[in-house]
């Protein structure tokens, strides 16, 4: 398996809800809009979605409630059978798998975190985390070793014997995260994992999540309805509306070049300098002298850019390689708002 092959690849995926979705879908003539389909008595929860997720990539799916995010992510793990299109996981069409193969895929490759945690109320933290291992039929001892390992990883050491009811929301979600990591999955799905938490805890969990992500480098699909959260965590963001993807791109690109008015509305309220990194503004060219770090946001570089008098400032990678030149005026425009 080459690294170039996408881990998950969706091709024209559709999911319709309604009385007879399969027949309706087969008899459909033109690609109708969401409203057309609704008039026929169906809900297009996912509408003609195509996207690829590369190995190690962190894709955030962002959209308002009801836009089809949960449905899309469930199509990728076949918790929901799709109405049309194909979903390939590491090159295999999951719609064609039988029950055994599907269970096997989930046992070996996938982990998922749920918005309302989905913990088993009658099991301790340890037993919850060990649950996927138990399903795989591992013996009690190995199960326990591994579960203790992940519990420590998510910072719940010492609470192994607690029951979910005895934990706070944030702690419960840590258990959910630990459980999803117990089998060392290749693919990590997170369906609004922090939405049910208080803002302060949410922030803390995001930091925690970034730490884990850095450490584990897993291919992940992260769902959120919070644009800020998406910008903080994503390698790429897919913005959904009425079941379809409006735009799928890096945070920089989405903020700088929103593809549709709908996307633009989200970006309006965003302080762009906190999102855009020097890398995104670098153009080919070479110059000497003090360089800007490519991965820093303009906001982080504000002082440096403001005090540097050069019109074109060099940008370099962390390893010192020269990346290009940054147009100071353009950067200042973003930092302080365009001079009208």
């Amino acid at each position: 398996m080459s690294d170039a092959q996408p881990v998950i690849s969706c091709r024209n995926v559709w999911k319709l809800y309604g009385p007879k979705p399969a027949a309706y879908f087969a008899g459909r003539t033109a690609a109708g809009s969401f409203e057309d389909i609704r008039r026929d008595g169906y809900i297009a929860a996912v509408r003609d979605v195509s996207l690829d997720i590369a190995r190690g990539e962190m894709l955030v799916v962002m959209g308002l409630s009801g836009s089809g995010k949960s449905t899309l992510v469930r199509c990728m793990s076949r918790l929901i059978d799709i109405t049309g299109g194909t979903v390939l996981v590491e090159g295999a069409d999951i719609a064609k798998m039988d029950e055994r193969a599907l269970i096997d895929l989930r046992r070996r490759k996938m982990g998922m975190v749920f918005q309302s945690f989905g913990l088993l109320p009658h099991r301790t933290v340890l037993d919850n985390v060990a649950f996927p291992l138990e399903m795989r039929g591992q013996d009690r001892h190995t199960r326990r070793e591994r579960a203790l390992e992940v519990i420590e990883l998510v910072g719940l050491k010492g609470r192994e014997d607690y029951f979910p009811r005895e934990l706070s929301g944030g702690q419960q979600q840590r258990v959910g995260i630990a459980r999803s990591l117990a089998i060392e999955p290749d693919i990590w799905f997170l369906d609004e994992p922090f939405s049910a938490l208080d803002p302060l805890i949410r922030r803390e969990m995001q930091d925690e999540f970034l730490r884990l992500k850095q450490m584990l480098g897993k291919t992940s699909v992260f769902i959120t309805h919070d644009f800020d959260e998406a910008l903080r965590l994503a390698d790429r963001i897919a913005i959904m509306k009425d079941g379809a993807i409006e735009q799928c791109d890096t945070p920089d690109q989405i903020v700088m070049h929103p593809a549709t008015p709908y996307v633009a509305k989200f970006t309006e309220a965003i302080e762009k300098s906190r999102v855009i990194r020097a890398r995104a503004l670098a153009r080919p060219g070479v110059a000497e002298g003090q360089a800007l770090a490519a991965d820093a946001t303009l906001h982080e570089l504000a002082r440096q850019i403001a005090s540097d008098a050069r019109a074109l400032i060099p940008v370099s990678e962390a390893d010192g390689r020269m990346l290009g030149l940054l147009d100071r005026a353009a950067a200042l425009d973003i930092l302080f708002g365009a001079s009208a």
């Binding site: 469930r74 918790l79 269970i103 989930r106 989905g118 088993l120 399903m135 014997d161 607690y162």
Partner: protein, 646 residues
């Protein structure tokens, strides 16, 4: 005027016309003519004898019964020394008290522990050990079997929606079928005695277990299911390790209901020769031994409360963790205590037989003083109760009964259709016609009307007591809690118990029957009135108070109208309870369906028993349909503004 109202008025007019023209009415409109009365009972009997003789079902049931009999022999030996394998028993009564106390302590703490242990001490000391153990030994077998079968059927119904849809009407009818209707087929298929008692009990207690299992499985959160699937669980693992454990609390509520139904039924199966507390109570009541009946009544009540509280505590028990490194004896503290106390109990029993068995001659009895006290009480209230009896019989019961019997059956049917039309339109009118039309076709019209009259009078009287009591009880939060606790406790009592005080007061007659039914039927009314009134949103009450409503206006204009749908649930339950009670009370002597049911039981006439039972069930189903329809309409009206011009 709406179409619904027009239809209702039309049927009302026909009903009145039929009643007025009574004297010139052809006989076929007065009472169901011969061609209208179908021999359902004969058909059922033919079907049963076919199943019994030609299909060989008898062999199957006898085989199953012999399995249950073996189990009953084991508990029988351990509990009261029945001369059967394993020949160990009877265990000393102290061991039961210790065990009950420890179980209650583990589940609910000190107070229930004392109460539970105290129950067994009372039973032993009052010399009722053998009877109580006969009863409990059957419950201990019947309840787990019911649990397993109910769980299995519940899982099936949950897995196969088609099966659930087929099962549902059966469950509805089964839950409104009077207990006696269950007994007759069992007597035919397995005979009488403990095993018949156990089997009747199992069949009777099954529906709530099935219902709660389905409910619990359906309630398992989608997220939990998905997390199970994503963990790679197979179907079997999903069921046994994800769904059932997560539905645990609902399933345990089902277990609580099973246990309570079992107790209620085991007491009643004394009618088919099941020995134990029920049989003793029946004999004592029939010979009017009030004091002794009272003692047994107390025992049954104590057992009921103990079983109910313990099983309920189990249902709501949440797991708790121990700190790491807690030693074994601390983790299993109650077990250690239990083992110690058991050893002590056995030691004491071997030293002094009083701690093992208390002979009836050594037992205490409070029967004499109770008899004396009741005598005094009766002499005191006699003028009142005599007058009440006279008044009820001459001015309420007899006129009302005669009035109902005087009406042509077609009038009654038209009245019911008018009611149905007014509440739920043409469909409900047809439902009413269907249920009562079938009752007419059984040929038991007059008897059915007597049952109807008893129930109407009883529910009306119960409402006269229950509503004010409920409204009074709902006045404050703490009072509501206390009254609800009393209602809860009263509802755990087997129906039989309610007969004791009324027989004490009124003797054996119609008034006693009505009295028992009233008591039994008032409890749900009080309960749902309180829940309805307390359930009105605090915001709404505050808004009304700010608008200047005084307490009276608040009650009549805001709280009661809002609470009405909930109160109607109480009325529904009240009617259901009344129907059951009327049939049970028949052995005191009534002339309604219950009396015929008793006859069918004594001649083991399966067909007749089932037809009578179904007639009662249909009454219940009709009321249930009307109340449900009405509440739905009402809730809709309260939820949204009523749309105009519909």
């Amino acid at each position: 005027m709406t179409a619904q109202r027009k239809g209702a008025l039309a049927f009302l007019a026909v009903a009145v016309a039929l009643a007025l023209a009574r004297n010139i009415l052809p006989a076929a409109l007065m009472r169901p003519a011969d061609w209208l009365v179908w021999p359902f009972a004969d058909w059922l009997n033919a079907a049963f004898s076919f199943a019994q003789n030609d299909l060989g079902l008898m062999a199957v049931t006898r085989f199953a019964a012999s399995g249950i009999e073996f189990l009953l022999d084991v508990t029988g030996n351990l509990f009261y020394g029945k001369n059967r394998w394993p020949h160990l028993g009877p265990l000393p009564w102290t061991t039961f008290a210790v065990t009950a106390g420890c179980v209650a302590y583990a589940l609910a703490g000190w107070r229930l522990a004392l109460f539970s242990a105290g129950t067994f001490v009372w039973i032993a000391v009052m010399g009722q050990w053998e009877w109580a153990m006969q009863t409990l030994s059957v419950i201990l077998i019947a309840a787990p079997i019911t649990f397993l079968i109910g769980l299995g059927l519940g899982i099936l119904a949950w897995r196969a929606p088609l099966f659930e849809r087929l099962l549902n009407p059966f469950l509805n009818i089964a839950q409104s079928l009077p207990q006696f209707a269950y007994m007759i087929p069992v007597v035919v298929f397995v005979g009488v005695g403990p095993k018949a008692g156990a089997i009747t009990t199992i069949v009777f207690a099954l529906p709530p277990m099935i219902r709660m299992t389905v409910l619990g499985l359906k309630k398992v959160p989608e997220n939990v299911v998905e997390s199970g699937l994503m963990s790679g669980a197979t179907r079997w693992q999903m069921l046994t390790r994800v769904r059932l454990p997560t539905a645990r609390n609902d399933i345990l509520v089902g277990v609580n209901q099973v246990i309570m139904q079992c107790l209620a039924m085991v007491v009643l199966t004394s009618f088919i020769g099941m020995p134990g507390l029920g049989q003793k109570l029946l004999q004592l009541m029939q010979s009017l031994k009030i004091g002794l009946s009272f003692e047994i009544g107390v025992t049954i009540v104590l057992i009921a409360v103990t079983l109910d509280r313990i099983s309920r505590a189990w249902a709501v028990l949440q797991p708790r963790h121990f700190e790491r490194g807690t030693p074994w004896h601390r983790r299993h503290r109650v077990f250690v205590i239990w083992a110690g106390l058991m050893a002590l109990a056995l030691l004491l029993a071997s030293l002094n037989p009083w701690f093992s068995q208390i002979a009836r001659a050594d037992a205490f009895s409070v029967a004499k003083p109770i008899d004396a006290a009741v005598d005094i009480l009766i002499r005191l209230v006699d003028p009142v109760s005599q007058w009440l009896r006279w008044f009820l019989i001459t001015w309420v019961l007899i006129p009302f009964r005669d009035g109902l019997l005087w009406l042509p059956f077609t009038t009654v049917l038209c009245l019911l259709m008018a009611l149905g039309y007014a509440i739920g339109g043409a469909r409900s009118a047809l439902v009413c016609l269907g249920f009562f039309g079938l009752i007419a076709m059984t040929g038991w019209w007059d008897r059915a009307m007597i049952t109807v009259y008893t129930v109407i009078v009883a529910v009306a009287l119960a409402a006269l007591m229950g509503f004010p009591l409920g409204i009074w009880g709902a006045r404050s939060e703490s009072r509501a809690k206390r009254v609800l606790l009393v209602c809860d406790t009263l509802q755990t009592f087997p129906s039989f118990i309610y007969l004791i005080p009324v027989i004490m007061l009124f003797g054996v007659n119609d008034v006693a029957v009505v009295g028992a039914v009233v008591l039994f039927a008032a409890v749900p009314l009080v309960r749902y009135t309180i829940e309805g009134v307390r359930g009105v949103s605090a915001e709404l009450v505050e808004a009304a108070s700010m608008a200047g409503a005084d307490r009276r206006q608040l009650l009549w204009k805001v709280q009661l109208p809002m609470a009405l749908p909930t109160i109607m649930v109480g009325v529904n339950q009240s009617v259901m309870f009344s129907l059951f009670m009327v049939i049970i009370a028949a052995f005191i002597g009534t002339q309604d369906l219950g009396q015929e049911m008793q006859r069918a039981l004594s001649t083991t006439d399966v067909g007749k028993g089932l037809v009578l039972g179904l007639a009662v069930a249909f009454m219940g189903q009709m009321v249930d349909h009307l109340v449900t329809r009405w509440s739905e309409g009402r809730l809709q009206a309260l939820g949204l503004e009523t749309p105009k011009g519909t």
